[in-house]
């Protein structure tokens, strides 16, 4: 709530009705993830065989769904209040970790799973997509007039 006389803003009650940048960031990362997925899958296939192919596809799906869930959670709750967004991000972190654990736990004994391929793909995809996106975001923030071309 904004007090007009003192311009004091209560952070937890404020809200952000503007556009949701995290949704566009997430969409960009998902597009790039799908773009590089064949390369990662092929690499895992060379190293770990057919099990590596299925495991890396599963890991890429986990990472992309995780990004989409995180962005959707922030975007939907920031319109209501920033306090709710804060709570949703914190509990969302726990819930998403639990969902990832569940997703891996359910297939751990499947005959097509290769845990090293799954783990390596999760880390490489997550960090790689973030660093790739960071490059575009950093350029956009430093030079707002010179937006780089999006894929």
């Amino acid at each position: 709530m904004t007090n007009a006389r003192t311009r004091q803003v209560e952070p937890m009650l404020a809200r952000d009705d503007g556009p949701a940048p995290e949704v566009s960031i997430s969409k960009d990362m998902i597009k790039r993830g799908l773009f590089v997925a064949p390369l990662l899958v092929a690499l895992c296939g060379v190293i770990w065989g057919l099990d590596g192919v299925w495991s890396s596809m599963y890991a890429i799906a986990i990472v992309l769904v995780n990004f989409a869930l995180a962005a959707g959670l922030v975007a939907s709750t920031a319109r209501i209040s920033l306090g709710l967004m804060m709570g949703a991000v914190l509990f969302g972190y726990l819930i998403r970790l639990a969902l990832i654990f569940l997703a891996v736990f359910l297939v751990r004994d499947a005959d097509w799973i290769s845990l090293p391929a799954l783990g390596a793909t999760i880390i490489v995809t997550h960090l790689g997509l973030l660093l790739w996106e960071l490059k575009f975001v950093a350029i956009s923030l430093a030079h707002p007039g010179l937006k780089p071309a999006r894929p």
Partner: protein
């Protein structure tokens, strides 16, 4: 007490497997605590910044989201170590 008697009855290999599983779970728990604190601090400061300067909210949310994802990468690395050792 039943759990202790079960642990005492384990053979060498079973004991090693039990120790690996419990260590992996402990490591995953530790790996999740740090990012949890980091995300809480990050989002708290971002909310303050957005409330203080609503015109910069887009930029703050952009960097906040990337910060959350980078911090979460630490937990994911801990999780991968957990699945490689403990599952």
């Amino acid at each position: 007490m039943e759990a202790f008697s079960y642990l005492a009855a384990l053979t060498g290999d079973e004991e090693k497997a039990a120790q690996a599983a419990s260590s992996a779970g402990f490591a995953y728990g530790l790996a999740a605590i740090g990012p949890g604190i980091g995300i809480g601090y990050l989002v708290g400061k971002s909310v303050e910044a957005m409330a203080r300067q609503p015109e910069a909210a887009g930029m703050v949310r952009t960097t906040m989201f990337l910060g959350i994802a980078f911090t979460e990468a630490l937990a994911l690395i801990g999780f991968v170590v957990f699945i490689l050792i403990g599952l």
